[in-house]
Each structure stands twice: as C-alpha cells, then as structure tokens.
Symmetry: C2
Subunit: 280 residues, 2 copies
C-alpha cells in the first residue's frame, strides 16, 4: 500500500494503472476510520482492481462554530485499517495541497436546503467542492459513500448526474454497534452517560421502521419516534423528518421511496441516523 500526499504523485500512479486497463475505486473519508469506513473499503475492494482511500479532514465543510478543531484524528491507525482492508493507495493531502487561494466552488440547490443543510448552511457546498476535486484527481470508475450520511449520498448522486461525472456512485448500508448505535467518528466525543443516551436514535429508527410498514402517513411515523428521543433528557432534536428519497423534500403521505432522517444533539455532540423505506 502506498501513501501519497500530493495530487501529482496520486495522478502519476493512477495514470499508470489506467494505462494497464485497471479499474479504480475511491472511498473518500475524513479519517479516524471505523467499521463503517471498513465496509466501504471492502465493497470497493470487491468491485475494483485498485482501491484508493482519501483521508482528508476537509475544513471547508465545517461551519464556523462547528467541531473542525476537535475532530478526532489518528492517521497511523487509519493506515493500518486501510492496509488490512486491502487498499492500494491512501491519498492524504494537507489542506494547503487542496486549497491554494481557491475561489471556485460547486454547490447544489434544492437538495441542500433541508435537513442537515438547514442547520449547516455551507456544509454541502464544502462537500460538493471537495468531492468534485477528489473525483478530478482520482478519476475513479466507482466511488463509495455511506448511507449514514443519506443527504450527502443523495446530493453526490445528483451532482454526478448534473455535472456529468462519468462515475458510478455506490451507497453502502449503515454499520452499527452491537447495541444499535450507528458507527461514527463523532461517537468518540460521547462520555459514558451520553453514549448510553445516544441509543435513543437507533431506537427511534427501529420504531419508525416498524410503524412505516403499516402504511402510515409521515406524522404517524414521526410522532412515536420523537417521543422516544424526547424521553431522553440528554437528547435534543435538531430535526427529524420524512422526505422524498430523491428530492429530499418533506412528504406528508408516504408513497414514493422516502428517507426518514434525524439529527439529534446528545449533550454537545450532534449525531445523525436514518432509514430508507420503499425501494429506490
């Protein structure tokens, strides 16, 4: 496994692989990898000749009062995981390598004005821009994103279509702890009490999944989910909503495939969880 810190090195390696006719898969990450990332790398390993993992804590997708400085990092551990999962190359640039007096950005309207986009108004602009850059640097055939960041996944799919990137986007299921908590680098922020309180998200997800299959409308699904979270004193709902799985716009009656998504503060830590209902 190789580690490249520059665009130039990365491109050189990928150019050679492409000349040999090899297929390229990309797993974009912000590092501090967990089993969720491991599942993406594994899927990428199965479907591509060469597996590239980018490890880049992208500053432009954090808002001013968000947790960029506190975000956990452990590149040594990340390297070990990538090696173990069979990655061929880690692209691990410094922010200066990615943004030199940069003033170009990629943005998406419509899908980004709701859910996480409401609380984090510049977040998806940062995501779309850095993912476009990574796509242009790596030029992968396939790219792998977690279903846990469901809005991000929907946005990346739409961006790829709108900007004609010739890349297949693969969404991979949420990976959970044994007790149900969705794996996240941010779980490391939780103290013992909060860790236990955080279970209200996955409990609400399971309850939502149970009710929705009975053909209810959105409010009938959201009510009991909300109740579970509101019973937890350390939890504070940022949003919880039922939206069209493609447009990310709220729906009242559940007909087309929907995304049921939430963001919940557990103490000062903002966690997300979701499920999709109806085949996409």
């Amino acid at each position: 496994m190789k580690v490249a810190a520059t665009v130039l090195e990365t491109r050189d390696m990928i150019r050679k692989w492409k000349q040999e006719g090899l297929t390229i898969g990309l797993v974009p990450t912000m590092g501090f990898l967990h089993e969720g990332h491991a599942s993406l790398i594994q899927k990428c390993r199965e479907e591509n000749d060469k597996v590239i993992v980018s490890v880049f804590l992208n500053p432009t997708q954090f808002g001013e009062n968000e947790d960029l400085a506190a975000y956990p990092r452990d590149f040594e551990r990340d390297m070990m995981l990538c090696e173990k999962m069979g990655a061929d190359l880690i692209f691990h640039p410094e922010p200066e390598e990615m943004y030199q007096d940069s003033c170009t950005f990629v943005n998406i309207t419509a899908l980004s004005d709701n859910l996480c986009g409401k609380t984090r108004p510049t977040h998806f602009k940062g995501v779309c821009t850095v993912v476009s850059k990574l796509f242009n640097i790596v030029t992968p055939d396939n790219a792998y994103f977690g279903q846990k960041d469901a809005q991000q996944l929907a946005i990346i799919k739409k961006m790829v279509k709108d900007l004609n990137f010739d890349i297949r986007i693969v969404g991979c299921p949420i990976v959970r702890e044994e007790d149900g908590l969705a794996k996240s680098s941010r779980n490391t922020y939780l103290n013992e009490e909060e860790r236990s309180a955080a279970l209200c998200l996955s409990k609400a997800v399971r309850e939502g999944q149970r009710i929705i299959s009975m053909g209810a409308d959105s409010e009938k699904v959201l009510g009991p989910m909300r109740e579970i979270i509101e019973k937890e004193p350390l939890a504070k709902i940022d949003y919880i909503n039922v939206v069209d799985a493609l447009t990310m716009h709220p729906v009242e009656r559940i007909e087309n495939p929907v995304l049921v998504a939430m963001a919940v503060y557990i103490g000062r830590t903002r966690l997300i969880d979701n499920f999709i209902y109806g085949e996409e």
Copy 2:
C-alpha cells in the same frame, strides 16, 4: 466527421479513442462560428489526435434581459467550417440533454465580481457550470479558448486549477477583421452605421497598446482610450479598466502583467475587446 447529440454517443466515441491512446482536444463554442473559432480549431488540430468541437448555445450563461433568443445560429454552416478545419466530432446537444432538472452549479468568486461579471452577474456561473460539464463529458487533454473573452479565459484557468481538472487550457489570440474589429458572433447584430462605429473599440485598443509601453499608470492609459470611444456618438462604455491579468482586480500602477479590457454598447449591441500587457 461525426455529429453527436447525446452525452452517451460522445462518451462512447471518446472512450474508444482513449483506449487507442489518442489525445483529445476540445473547442467549446456556442455556434455561429467565425474565423476566431476557426483559429481555435486549427490550433487544436495541430496539438491533438482527435478534435472535438462542442456547439451548444448555453442558456444558463445568458441573463434574463440578454440576447439568448436573438443569438445567431447556423448549424449547417458551423458543420461545414468544422469539417473544413479537420474536426473529428461535433458535440451538438439540445438544452434538455444538458440540463434535466439540474440544480448543481460551479461558481467562482474573486475573479468574477469585476468587468463583465458586474454587468452580467450570473454569466460566469453559467460558463463555469457548462464548461465543467463539457470537461466531464469529453475529458479532453487540452481545451481551447479565445483571448477575446479574456475574463472567461482567466476564470476557466483558475477553475481548472481550483477543481483539479487534469486539462491544459490554451488561450488563443484575438482574430480581427481587416479594419481591426474583433471577430464576434454578435457583430452580425450591427447595421452599417454601427459596424463603422464599432471600430472605436479596436482603435482604443491600439492607442492603449501604444501608451502603455511608455510605462504609464492605469489612468494615463485609460484616459485617451475613453476619449476615442466617447467621441463616437453610437458608442456607450459599459466598462473600461486595467486589471491584474491573473486576479482580474483593478490596478493603478502597471507592474505585473495586466489585462486592459472594455465592454462597449454600439447601439443595443454589447461588444468586448482587450489586450494583455506584460508577459503572463
């Protein structure tokens, strides 16, 4: 020479060429081609194995009160010119092929807030978005743009750098009529009287070039240029300015390479012209 109306056909052809190891050059145009475009195609022909000309009148780079509906078209003539200049493929999509419920855009700050960007505030967003799409569809090794649209050229170069497109951008000199008028599809709007009045732009350019080499500051260059244009009753200056050739920001003293650029209304037709001073 082939003509493709869809992204799919275009990609199929280009994929085959790439598999054969051939280099690809792209000349993006809005059609109604003239000798300026011909010079771009010629340069592209010299430097690449395969020459692709896109002919797409991009609606998103026109403002609401601009001349999209009136913009001249003659695809039959465009095809003949492309064939004559040795193009291998014309990509000629309908707007619906390019924009289906599209909500993603590429934008650039800093370089787009001045000059043409002031009068046409959404113009460069439309340009950056469509050029990104064309780059992703054609994936050229080299792409050719006219120096006549100097701000557009600077913006495309910056966008390519910022978003890590692996494409070399080639700027080509302004092509002029015998009497000096810069070639433009919009020259067709001019009646006889206006055509004659339009010479004030190139006259001002020549005067500016004469003065600037004497080491003057910006105001000393702009004064006599303005005078030439203001003497012409049919002409109305939109802007005329000396800007840094890279940042597009106004400069007072001429030290780094500068762009001296103007937009002038001749009757209702808005024409542009410019020159660069100091090597880039």
